[in-house]
Symmetry: C2
Subunit: 319 residues, 2 copies
C-alpha cells in the first residue's frame, strides 16, 4: 500500500511560500500540489500558466526574489525588442521565462496534456514533487465588474486590480474534470489536504469549481486545513482584501474561514489575529494560531511544521 | 507618373550586403527589395523568415557584425533556458530576435499578410525601404539529397550543409503567386533589376520559381544584372560552391552566368575573375569587372554604384 500522502491546494506566490516550507519536511512521495490553472491564458501565441510556473520556479530554487515573481537571473531583452515592434507589453515575459512558455506550448500543440508537460518541465528544473494542474481542460477565471467581465490577467496585470469586483466566473469549469492523477491522489491513501494561503476567490475557488473536486475532498474523510491569506485585515500579497471590500465581505480571517465552511475542518490564524479564534471556532472549525507571515525560509518551514502538526492532531481526534 | 524604381532580388547575408550599399545611393522611392521566403519555416510554433530578417536588420543598422547573422547586441538567455527543458536548440534564437518572430507570428495568425507584417516590423525598426516577400503564400525550399529531402533549415543550420545535394524542390511554388505589390513594381516604371550576390539555387531560384515571376522580369524590357556570388571559385558566404561541386557544375562565375542565361542582360564579375569575362560575354551577356568582395560599408557602396552605372549603360545601349 502506498504511504500516506498530503495534498496541498495552491495558487500563486503566497501558496508557493508554504509549499516551499512543506517540501523541507516531506518527500516527493508524501505530498502532491494541486495548482490553480484558472489564471492560465494564451498570450502572444503562448500558453502561459502563471501559478504552475510560480510553484515550479519556487520549488526549483529558481524564483526571482528580487521582483517577487518570475525566474531568478531574469533579463528583459525580448520585452524591449517587442516594445519596439509595438507588441503587447502589458504582461512581462522574461527571456528565461519565455523558454518555459514556448516549450510548454509546443508540447501541448503536439498533444501532450498539461499534467504531462508540467511534470516534464518541472523535472527538467530538478523538481521531483508532483505539481498537478487542477484539470487538463481549460478553465478561465473571469472577473466580473460593473463594466462587464475581464479575463483574469487583464484584471490582475494589465489593469492592476483597479476595477471593482462584483463576482467571478470560472469559464469552462462546468465541463472540466479533475485529472486521473488527482483522482488517484484523492483515494484511500490521502493523509490530509492543506489549502495554502492563496486568494480564496481566484486561486482556490477555481480548483473547487471543477465538478466533483469539492465533493471528493469532503468525502475523503481526512483533515482539510486552510491557512488564512488575510492577516490583520490585509492580504500579505495580492488583491484578496480589496476584493473582499468590494464584495462587501468583512476583510478579516473570519470571513475567509466562513468562505471555507463545510469544506475545512481546521483553520490556521496568524498570531496577530489570535482574538478572532473564538469566532472561527464558533463556525465549527478547529483552529490553531501561529506565525503565518513567511519572510524567511525558516518561517516557511515553521508554518509547514505547524500545519502538519495541526493536521495530525485533527486526524487523531477524528480516529 | 511614378519615378523609375529598381528592384533588387535578394536572399540572405551576401545579398543584404549589396542592399546596404544600394540604400546609400537610392531613396526608398527608387528601389524595392524582393526577398526569398523559401527558407522560411515554422519552428517552436513561430514563423521565422531568415532572409527577410537579415535584410531588415541590415537596413536598420541592427545586424550583428560579430557573428555575421542575427541582431546587434543579441543575448541568448532564452536558448540557455530552452536547453534546460530539452527543447529544440539546433536553431539559435536570440532574445531580441525572438520578438521579431513572436510578433510576426501573432500578426500572421490574426490574418495579416507576410507583406504587410514585413512592412510594419521593418518600419518599427526605422526601415522605410520596401522589403517585399516574394509571395504571401508559403513556399518551402527542399534540399534533395541521396538520402531524401531535407527542409532548408534542417540542411542549412541543423546539418550544417553536410549532406551532398542532388537537387532542389520549391514546395508550394506551383500554387504561389507574386504579391500585388511586386506586380505593381514590375510595371512600366521599372528601371532595372539587380540580382544580388545570393545563392542562385536556394536564394534566387525560389523567387524565380513563383509562377509568372521569371516571365514578368524578362518581359519588363529593362536591364537585369546579376552579381556573381562566386569569386575565384569559392562562395564569399554559404554553401554555393559546395553545392555546385555536388551538382557537378564547375564552381566558377561562368557557371553562375550560365545559370542565369536567358534572364540577365548583364553580369558583374570580381576583379579576381577578370579572365572569365570573355567566357561570360560568349554567353551573350554583357559584363563588368569590379571589386565585388564587400568587407566595408565603402565596399558595399562602391559595388552598388558600379552596378547602377552598369545598368544605366545597358539601358542606354538598349534605347
Amino acid at each position: 500500500m502506498a504511504a500516506d500522502r498530503y495534498i496541498a491546494v495552491t495558487g500563486g506566490v503566497g501558496g508557493a511560500k508554504l509549499a516551499l516550507g512543506l517540501v523541507q519536511l516531506l518527500s516527493p512521495e508524501e505530498i502532491s500540489f494541486v495548482v490553480n490553472t484558472g489564471d492560465d491564458f494564451e498570450h502572444l501565441g503562448l500558453h502561459i500558466s502563471p501559478d504552475i510556473d510560480t510553484l515550479v520556479y519556487t520549488l526549483a530554487g529558481q524564483s526571482n526574489t528580487d521582483v517577487g515573481w518570475g525566474r531568478r537571473g531574469e533579463t528583459w531583452q525580448f520585452m524591449q525588442a517587442l516594445k519596439q515592434f509595438g507588441g503587447e507589453t502589458w504582461f512581462n515575459l522574461g527571456d528565461l521565462d519565455l523558454a518555459m512558455h514556448v516549450e510548454r506550448t509546443q508540447r501541448l500543440r503536439r498533444g501532450a496534456s498539461l499534467t504531462d508537460v508540467t511534470r516534464e518541465l518541472a523535472n527538467a528544473l530538478g523538481v521531483q514533487y508532483e505539481i498537478l494542474p487542477m484539470s487538463d481542460a481549460p478553465v478561465r477565471t473571469m472577473i466580473v465588474t460593473a463594466n462587464g467581465e475581464l479575463a483574469f490577467q487583464h484584471y490582475f496585470v494589465r489593469d492592476r486590480c483597479a476595477p471593482a469586483v462584483t463576482g467571478f466566473r470560472f469559464d469552462g469549469a462546468d465541463t472540466a474534470t479533475p485529472t486521473s492523477l488527482i483522482e488517484q491522489r484523492l483515494d484511500g491513501s490521502l493523509a490530509g489536504v492543506i489549502i495554502c494561503p492563496s486568494n480564496p476567490f481566484v486561486s482556490v475557488d477555481p480548483i473547487l469549481a471543477i465538478p466533483g473536486m469539492r465533493e471528493r475532498l469532503q468525502r475523503a474523510g481526512v483533515p482539510i486545513v486552510a491557512v488564512s491569506p488575510i492577516v490583520a485585515g490585509t492580504a500579505i500579497k495580492g488583491p484578496t482584501a480589496k476584493m473582499m471590500t468590494e464584495l462587501r465581505i468583512p476583510n478579516d480571517a473570519i470571513a475567509v474561514a466562513r468562505h471555507y465552511r463545510g469544506l475545512v475542518s481546521g483553520f490556521v490564524l496568524d498570531t496577530q489575529d489570535a482574538a478572532l479564534e473564538p469566532a472561527v471556532a464558533a463556525l465549527g472549525i478547529a483552529t490553531v494560531v501561529t506565525q503565518t507571515v513567511m519572510l524567511t525560509l525558516g518561517d516557511r518551514q515553521q508554518l509547514a511544521a505547524d500545519v502538519l502538526r495541526f493536521m495530525r492532531r485533527l486526524k487523531s481526534s477524528n480516529d
